[in-house]
């Protein structure tokens, strides 16, 4: 219910102009109090789990916070709440995808608990944190005060921590703590940023900071915020928590990856981007994004676990958005926004689908998923469209990527070249891992012909179909979406970069003919179907060097006339891409790049 109200209200805000509000001081005090309660809880967790990292990081932000408050520096933050078009876009994403995931979770958690054989349901706790997370995200995107921002930030950290450890297994606990300490690094960076803000611009209100004269000190402050954003958006070197989050029940992943949590980081960078236009800091941010995009795309190839692929793909796409934000031209900014919007819409579908499959097949290994199209036609079809939507035209994601490429291409030559190279490689690797997975799902069932028909609970269908419908509609009507959601954001700080003549999208250096492409996308397979009907054809046994056995001919004769099945396994290239090694390399380079970012911020 809340969800629908929230969704409706944010849609309502869409046509409003900038909305400003300052809540009564009482609220401020309440926030302050809750913040310290929160930090206290983190400290408690750190002590209880004997995790020195968590303890240390909590203390590291609690003490300076306390000092900051004691000095009363946190009060010149008028107005506290500012809702502009960027907030609205984020709000729409959060409040459309979020509730759908919650609906999905209603069914999922039932099945999930059956699976685990729980006697006492823990769903109450689960949904509490889910909704809290949504609430916090809403708060986050409207806060103008860095302090409030920081508070909501920490609330999302809390929810995330609690949701990841929901299943209370040892692994879940471990991964949850990893997520916690990484997020806390972001918290520390935030606190530091507040100090910087205070000293450099004498304010901790975002809108002031953004228009202040960018001194190196202030740039360091923005660098710190970017660092915090990297932790939330799981960029290298902080990528591992998001992978660890896979142990949580699927709706959590769906929520974290599509509409909340990770978007917080991108949001923050988008927020500060106008202020750092043309600085080397901005370029460094772009470099980290590009690097993450490239490396995670390669890593995703080596993944056997469905959610692993999805997780790396999320990190990669966030990297792409950060790359765009970092390039910081009107075009790239538009690209980042488009990507943000469509990524949420597509990723949600895939996670939800993956969750259903996992519950049905009891396996997350995509090697076990072969022939899924025969077993779970509805879910698989949805996932297939979702996948196509991730990397192929004419879907919105690809459109976003195309705008991004135009944007990267039009960035200054020599600085742009490394970004271009990373992006191009990443983009090809993306095609590889999606296409191979997509193909694998369509292998028709090799052996079992007749499995039970697929029965899906209503909430599953509802959430999947709605999200898919929105995705397709938005992709077809991308001109409308861009004009109403993206361009207004640009107008403020950049000036429009995208035009939509004749319902296509024009970047000034290229055109994406949305409608003709969609028409072809629909017509071509239809002709194909018609042709296949007309020509027909009987299904024959496969080629097995002539040694097929039996009617279906799916096994072959081998030594001493014994029978052997042929088998196929997916492609993971794991002798080329050794996950641990590459990830370690990524963390090392990522750390170096973060260092470079600060160096560049100073000079």
């Amino acid at each position: 219910m809340t969800a629908i109200v929230l969704g409706a209200s944010s849609l309502g805000l869409l046509y409003g102009e900038r909305f400003i509000m300052t809540p009564p001081p009482l609220c401020q005090t309440a926030v302050l109090l809750m913040d310290f309660l929160l930090l206290g809880y983190f400290l408690y967790v750190g002590i209880k789990k004997r995790n020195p990292l968590v303890m240390g990081l909590t203390v590291l932000q609690a003490l300076p916070m306390a000092y900051f408050e004691l000095m009363g520096w946190g009060h010149h933050t008028e107005p506290v709440i500012v809702v502009d078009r960027l907030s609205v876009l984020l709000g729409i994403i959060i409040n459309i995808v979020g509730p759908l995931v919650c609906i999905y979770a209603i069914s999922y958690m039932g099945e999930h608990e059956d699976h685990l054989g729980l006697s006492k349901s823990r769903q109450g706790r689960f949904f509490l944190f889910m909704l809290l997370l949504l609430g916090a995200m809403n708060g986050l995107v409207v806060s103008n005060s860095v302090y409030w921002l920081y508070f909501f930030w920490e609330v999302t950290t809390l929810c995330c921590y609690e949701l990841i450890r929901h299943d209370a297994t040892e692994q879940a606990e471990g991964n949850a703590q990893k997520a916690l300490w990484m997020s806390l690094v972001g918290g520390v960076a935030f606190v530091a940023a507040m100090y910087v803000g205070h000293y450099a611009a004498d304010s901790i209100a975002m809108d002031r900071l953004l228009v202040a004269q960018p001194t190196s000190l202030l740039l360091i402050g923005f660098g710190l915020m970017a660092l915090a954003a990297f932790t939330k958006s799981a960029q290298f070197p902080f990528h591992s928590w998001l992978l660890g989050a896979m142990v949580a029940p699927t709706p959590v992943s769906a929520l974290l990856h599509s509409s909340t949590m990770v978007n917080a980081g991108v949001y923050l960078i988008l927020r500060i981007a106008p202020a750092i236009r043309g600085t080397s800091l901005s370029w460094a941010i772009a470099l980290i994004g590009a690097f993450t995009f490239m490396l995670t795309a390669l890593l995703a190839i080596s993944q056997r676990v469905s959610k692993g692929i999805l997780a790396y793909s999320t990190i990669g796409n966030l990297g792409l958005m950060i790359l765009c934000a970092g390039i910081n031209t009107p075009l790239s900014y538009a690209a980042a926004l488009t990507l943000l919007l469509f990524h949420s819409l597509s990723k949600g579908i895939l996670f939800m689908g993956a969750g259903i499959v996992e519950n049905r097949l009891n396996s997350r290994l995509i090697d076990d998923w072969e022939g899924l199209l025969g077993k779970l036609p509805f879910t698989t079809m949805t996932m297939l469209v979702g996948m196509v939507g991730m990397f192929l035209p004419p879907f919105g994601m690809l459109l976003g990527k195309w705008v991004a490429m135009d944007a990267v291409a039009s960035s200054p030559t020599l600085e742009g070249v490394p970004l271009i190279l990373l992006m191009v490689i990443g983009s090809a690797a993306t095609t590889l891992f999606w296409a191979k997975w997509l193909g694998h799902l369509t292998i028709l069932p090799i052996r079992e012909r007749h499995s039970d028909p697929e029965v899906l609970l209503a909430p599953y269908k509802l959430s999947l179909m709605t999200l898919l419908g929105i995705n397709v509609l938005m992709s077809v009507g991308v001109a409308f979406a861009i004009n109403n959601l993206v361009v207004p954001i640009l107008v403020g700080s950049y000036g429009a970069a995208l035009t939509t003549p004749g319902l296509g999208v024009n970047t000034g250096v290229g055109t994406f003919l949305v409608i003709p492409l969609w028409a072809a996308f629909i017509i071509v397979p239809l002709i194909g179907i018609y042709l296949a009907r007309w020509k027909g054809g009987s299904i024959e046994t496969p080629y097995l060097a002539g040694e097929n056995i039996g009617e279906d001919g799916l096994s072959f004769r081998t030594i001493a006339d014994s029978e052997s099945e042929f088998k196929v396994a997916g492609m993971f290239l794991d002798d080329v891409i050794v996950e641990d090694k590459v990830a370690r390399f990524g963390v090392a380079v990522g750390a170096l790049l973060v260092l470079l970012m600060f160096v560049l911020a100073v000079i």
């Binding site: 992978l243 080596s302 993944q303 056997r304 676990v305 692993g308 997350r364 290994l365 090697d367 097995l544 060097a545 002539g546 040694e547 072959f556 004769r557 081998t558 030594i559 001493a560 006339d561 052997s564 099945e565 042929f566 088998k567 196929v568 396994a569 997916g570 492609m571 993971f572 290239l573 794991d574 002798d575 996950e579």
Partner: protein, 373 residues
Amino acid sequence: MSENKTKKFTVFPFGPQHPVLPEPLQLKFTVDEERIVEVVPNLGYVHRGIERACELNDYRRNIYLCERICGICNFMHAMSYCETIEKITDAEVPDRARYLRTVWAELSRLQSHLLWLGLFADGMGFESLFMQLWRDREIVLELTEKTAGHRIHLSTCAIGGVRKDMDEKLIAAYRSGLSGLRRKMDAVAPVFRNDRSVKAKTEGKGILPKSRAVHLGAVGPTIRGSGVSQDMRTLGYEAYGELDFTPITYDSEDVYARTQVRLDEVYQSIDLINRALDQMPDGPILSKSTMFPDGTAINRIEQPRGEVFYYVVGNGTIHLERVRIRTPTLPNIPPLLEMLIGHEVADIPPIVLSIDPCISCTERITYVNKEAA
């Protein structure tokens, strides 16, 4: 993530029908991605029962049957069979016949090695090289045809000598044909020897260490490529004792070495033929013997692919008691299985071809099919 380490393998049959394999042989491959982890051979697709048929036939007919154990080195089989029978019956082979046999045996080897080099090129996906080698191989086939009236089966060997002689014109044709061939080979030899991309397909692939080669009993160019100087021609049968022959060996133990051995042997065969033609005495070519074989003999000669072993028991009638033939590909199969492990699917054709598999003479064992038996 431990789950990510769970591997599934791809399992598929390579043969009996496969465009890279001209002959039916099945290798069941288990591959991890594209890396080979297991190979199981499955033979018997060509098994015809030749040894048994040899016991049923008039022993003189067997020359032609043995010749068709394999068409590629047909002359060698016929020669080996004749030699074995000659050993049993103590028949004298005229000198000229010995030289003629040597010439034709080497001609067969030339034909076979050129054929192999071509097929090997094809296996590497090097179509133009294949075409070029087979074009040049026609020179040898033309000589064969001029000698015996047929491109493949010479059918010139007989017990106690040979059926056909060579006149001066033919010898001249041999000389000019072979010098032409040598020139053509000079044009392609660098491709096998020095071309970087060809080396990438051969060097370090299909390693067969010397000790393993000896232990597993590899023969022919396969073992010579592992640095073991094993060649039956050093036994000096026919005219080889008088031709100053030394085997060619290479030490790098890989596909490259085996290729080089065969390439060098092409030149060596040209030399041997020329030398044999120089030294060839005049005289009769056939000494007829009417005695039916009675007794036992073994015979070993060097085919293009290695040692072939004949064991014949005669009982004084027109039919033989027992014929056993061990052909060179069979002992090379166990080494092949070892060579393949750890390489990629793309390396399968070069490695499999590197032993020059000749299934048709190997396939005289089979697994009994219960329903059919």
